[in-house]
Symmetry: C2
């Protein structure tokens, strides 16, 4: 099966209680692509960078089997840059700098070779851009998954609601689910959000795990209890990449398989937070990933009499 | 098997965003006894009340099979009273009133008929009183479980450390685990706390579930996602009562069975929060409890390829 990921490929500068980075590579598209690459040998990215983006990083993505034909490189422009600082509990962060740069007028191009893809992952971007991508797919993918954030709810709720009508599964965090639905209870929030369009909903709760809702079914996956969370940046995107990569590689969108996808995504996210940026995701082995997934089995497995 | 529970039998007055109670029956011992009564036909309580405590409530406990021989009724004295108000998120609360009354000089008496019990549950009380109970058991129980709270860490840490050395399993919440250990990461906190004595540790995370630690093993149980949490008072005690009641009734303290105990405790706690005080716990049926446990199975069950 083929997967198209739309999302930012960007620069980040991150400060956590454990340390501080200069400009490093980040962006939702980057994290999703690295993560899904461990499940999908072939995938495609739609994004945009400036001429300041290092070829070396593009080569790393290519090495992971990511087709960059849909990645626009804008001469004379600069790559999207975000800088943030995590508070001591690592659960909240302050944005220090946001420079939209090439993202300000991003007009996504879907190369012919991407047409006919069965799985589409819309990383966090303007809902208007997300909608354009859906409309520019000649044939509707079998599964469209989407991320978004509070920012778009604040400034583009109408566009967001339009896009939500077109997607199968929304993947957001608990605060976003509360803001989008106006409900504090996540069970109530899930009902409201699924009435907006997506039949499936994943609510990520960071260190407290993730919930998957569909129809009358609910599935819960914990996050792996870790001694240290070094840098949470990108963990949500890595979750999404692992989730959708798992679904696409198995080409099975049953609820049972989505549960496995949630576990795969959770396992990938647990690697992400161990180092700054994409570092931990660049060179994972199959057995490391299988071992991590087994930890989730061990952590949650019980049998009542 | 026989179970002895030590804990307060008390009056509470509770205010939540959903409503407000007058003086109702509460106390860790009450909640633990109600909860464990669904697993244990015979159990025993060690506690103290004033002459103002209603006989009707004592009769309800007796009806549940709770032996009250170790419950002292102090003529001319008043029952322990606590009053609190929950904030809008239901995750934090402010104590409005604490009147120790009979608890101030509580000297626990262990009736002869309680001696030889195999399971001992020490509800949240002064660690000095908890230690006295252990010392007054002629034969050490097979399993001693214990709860405590931040208050005792603030004012009686030395006593608490002495008592911790004597117990097998500590059941506390995440904030308490952090304060007791001085570690923010629960994985690190668990190591520090188990070095203080208890070989087993349960860390309750409220709506985010519970973790069980022993040796190299970790087990995680979610809380049931609920539309409304009406009143969280006593949920932690009800968890402990279901947990220890399950262990005692099956008389199996293997890690595999402790996992089942954590699920049983989580199921009981999910009932507790549905109504004010002990209301929801007074008349549960076996099939309601089995149905609730099945919800935990459905919520967490997955099978990787």
């Amino acid at each position: 099966m083929s997967l198209v990921t739309v999302g930012s490929v960007a620069f980040d500068a991150i400060e956590t209680p454990f340390g501080k980075t200069d400009k490093i590579i980040g962006g939702a598209g980057t994290y999703i692509a690295f993560s899904s690459s461990y499940f999908m040998k072939k995938q495609n990215i739609v994004s945009v960078v400036g001429e300041d983006f290092p070829q070396e990083m593009l080569d790393k993505l290519t090495d992971k089997g990511v087709n960059l034909e849909g990645l626009q490189i804008k001469e004379g422009e600069k790559t999207f840059f975000w800088s943030g600082k995590y508070r001591n509990d690592m659960n909240s962060r302050d944005t220090l700098v946001t420079e939209l740069n090439v993202l300000e007028h991003f007009d996504p191009i879907i190369p012919d070779s991407y047409q006919g893809c069965e799985y589409l992952m819309l990383g966090n971007l303007s809902p208007d851009v997300q909608l354009k991508v859906i409309e520019r797919m000649e044939k509707r993918p079998k599964l469209i998954a989407m991320d978004t954030m509070n920012f778009w709810m604040d400034i583009a709720m109408d566009d967001l609601k339009k896009t939500l009508k077109k997607v199968d599964i929304l993947i957001i965090n608990d605060e976003e689910a509360r803001q989008l639905s106006g409900e504090y209870s996540l069970v109530k929030a899930a009902k409201v959000i699924r009435d907006m369009g997506p039949k499936y909903l994943v609510i990520k709760k960071g260190e407290h795990g993730a919930l998957l809702f569909h129809g009358e079914n609910t599935f819960f996956a914990p996050a792996l209890p870790l001694e240290d969370v070094f840098d949470p940046t990108g963990a949500g995107d890595v979750f999404a990449g692992g989730f959708v990569g798992y679904l696409a590689s198995s080409d099975d969108i049953s609820f049972e398989n989505m549960k496995r996808g949630v576990i795969a995504g959770s396992a990938m996210a647990s690697f992400c937070v161990e180092k700054f940026g994409t570092e931990r995701l660049e060179n994972l082995t199959k057995s490391e990933i299988e071992g991590r997934i087994q930890k989730f089995v061990d952590l949650t497995n019980f049998k009542m009499d």
